[in-house]
């Protein structure tokens, strides 16, 4: 699906944010990107979705350099759920989800029957259909996140990138959103890449981790293989132990 070779990104004042990253994203995976604040996770996500111009190396989407695609073509392959979305203007949830259809729509044409169907389907799937006429300005954090995910679904892409989709949610909504993503991954065979801070959620839901520290990729391993007390100490400098009694989900306890 995506292949990254020698990816490097610098800021305008030449500060290196990502240096020489090499990895591959395989179809159907549920990938987690973890790392400390400021380690370059969001930057990486933006490079993968071609919203930042990289300074070195290349990102290949289906074996073709991502920069050789038009913006519209990329939007039909990759949907992004950003960390924040500002709603300065009043849109209904339905209008927001319909925006996900824009890479498929022609100028001056009204929304087609197919667009309406896909939007309804995405909204039902994320349990936001009842909110369709509600203004996004009055939605709660969890509802808003689900609406944005519905928008990403209506974009009908094989790949969805999410930047910390659960960081601002309470525990119930965290699980709700993560279960939803898990469904999307398993039932709809969509590849998911998610930036996540909560290692227990990462352990429960993702099947592969990309670990970033100071702009370098320090691990690219299956989740269960990577998440050991030693590695957590190395990357985050926090002591922990992992409880795994083979009956339930393994759990990380921080000390």
């Amino acid at each position: 699906m995506i292949e990254v070779k020698h990816l490097t990104y610098k800021t305008r004042n030449k500060k290196i944010l990502l240096s020489d990253l090499n990895f591959e994203i395989k179809d159907g995976g549920f990938y987690g990107i973890i790392g400390n604040n400021g380690s370059g996770k969001t930057t990486l996500l933006r490079c993968l979705s071609n919203t930042l111009n990289i300074d070195g190396g290349s990102v290949f989407l289906n074996h073709k350099d991502i920069t050789s695609y038009s913006i519209r073509q990329v939007a039909k392959q990759i949907a992004v759920v950003p960390q924040h979305t500002d709603f300065l203007f009043d849109f209904s949830a339905h209008q927001i989800v319909m925006m996900g259809r824009s890479p498929y729509q022609k100028r001056l044409c009204a929304d087609s029957e197919q667009d309406l169907q896909i939007v309804e389907q995405s909204m039902r799937q994320t349990s936001t259909w009842h909110l369709r006429n509600t203004s996004v300005k009055v939605l709660s954090g969890g509802e808003l996140q689900r609406v944005i995910i519905a928008r990403a679904l209506s974009q009908n892409t094989p790949l969805i990138l999410l930047d910390e989709p659960v960081s601002n949610l309470d525990i119930k909504h965290q699980f709700e959103v993560m279960n939803l993503l898990s469904d999307i991954n398993k039932e709809h065979k969509k590849t998911i890449i998610i930036v996540i801070h909560d290692l227990n959620l990462a352990l429960k839901y993702t099947n592969h981790l990309l670990v970033i520290r100071d702009g370098c990729l320090i691990a690219d391993k299956p989740t269960k293989e990577f998440l050991t007390s030693d590695n957590i100490k190395k990357v985050f400098n926090v002591n922990s132990s992992i409880i795994d009694n083979n009956q339930s989900q393994p759990y990380i306890i921080f000390q």
Partner: protein, 338 residues
């Protein structure tokens, strides 16, 4: 019939009625029947012997072009406001508040002084140049990284407005013989309307409105932020350039024929948004018709309240526009305070 279609039809009927009123009222008293007959003569009706020549002249050469110019420029300014608000992602931005209209008037003043006013569209061309420079300056001052901040945007607009009115004052004092002409652009007036100015502005407004309509969906998506819009397949940089250039061209041509008339691009889209929401595809037709109606009504008021002299039309639009602007500013403040 859908509610929206009904509103559109009502707006069109109101606009036509107002245009008729615009042909009737004024210093010289003309009856409704006479006015209708004169107007019908345009469409091939016979000239009636009962109506004096002067009535024909007043309606066809003085009032009708003025009514038409009000309609065309009002619609254009309102759509420019919609475009600016979408591009700057800010309900407070319009060409007048951001100083772009003043920028265009500076170009007009310079054109007068270097005697470009003889050339076809000479004033409009120079107005466009200075208006576009103003836009570039505003974006340069107020963008921090990729974002435009409301406060800096408004401050940039205010300071540029100050700078330009100072420059125009200096130009007027240095060129006293042209003062009367230059002052026209700073005050704003539809009094100089003729069929030529109507035809030229109508062309530019038509093209400008069509371009904004073509990009209306992209403008919606861009309200969620540039990088979000990009991930949804919008070529943000190109769209911004196309919309800014075409709407600034509209403003420049309008200003070069009517001078600076403020707040239409702020008031009308705001009221429309209250009724139809934020979807630019829906806003556009209402904003166009609303702008036409607003400008026409303002012009009729300003030339009838103290006959035979006229109020400057800018004073009427500001009288309504400034309070709306202040109200929006209060709302923005509330949002910042949580």
């Amino acid at each position: 019939m859908k509610r929206q279609t009904i509103i559109i039809i009502l707006l069109i009927v109101a606009l036509l009625a107002m245009m008729l009123v615009g042909c009737i009222v004024g210093t010289a008293n003309i009856g409704l029947k006479d006015a209708l007959q004169v107007l019908m003569s345009v469409f091939g009706g016979e000239n009636s012997a009962n109506i004096p020549e002067s009535t024909y002249y007043i309606i066809l050469n003085l009032r009708l072009p003025r009514v038409l110019l009000a309609v065309v420029t009002g619609g254009g300014l309102s759509v420019c406001g919609v475009a600016y608000q979408a591009i700057f992602r800010n309900p407070l931005s319009d060409p007048y508040v951001l100083g772009v209209s003043s920028g265009a008037s500076l170009g007009a003043a310079i054109a007068i002084i270097i005697a470009l006013d003889g050339a076809f569209l000479g004033i409009s061309a120079l107005s466009f140049l200075t208006a576009l420079l103003t836009v570039i300056l505003i974006i340069g001052i107020s963008s921090i990284g990729n974002r435009l901040h409301t406060t800096t945007l408004l401050l940039a607009g205010i300071s540029i407005n100050f700078l330009i009115s100072a420059l125009i004052s200096v130009l007027m004092i240095l060129n006293k013989q042209e003062m009367d002409k230059i002052i026209f652009w700073t005050m704003g007036s539809l009094a100089s309307a003729n069929y030529e100015s109507v035809a030229i502005t109508a062309c530019f407004v038509f093209i400008g409105v069509m371009i904004v309509a073509l990009y209306a969906r992209d403008l919606n998506t861009m309200l969620l932020g540039s990088s979000s819009a990009r991930t949804m397949g919008v070529n943000v940089e190109r769209t911004k350039k196309i919309i800014l250039v075409s709407s600034t061209l509209m403003i420049a041509v309008i200003v070069s024929f009517t001078g600076v008339i403020g707040f239409i691009g702020l008031v009308v889209p705001h009221i429309v948004r209250l009724i139809v929401g934020s979807d630019n595809r829906r806003i556009l037709p209402y904003a166009l018709l609303g702008g036409m109606l607003f400008m026409l009504s303002a012009d009729i008021v300003c030339r009838t309240v103290i006959p035979p002299s006229e109020l400057p039309i800018g004073s009427i639009t500001s009288l309504i526009g400034a309070p709306v602007f202040i109200y929006l500013l209060f709302n923005a403040k509330k949002r910042l305070n949580g």
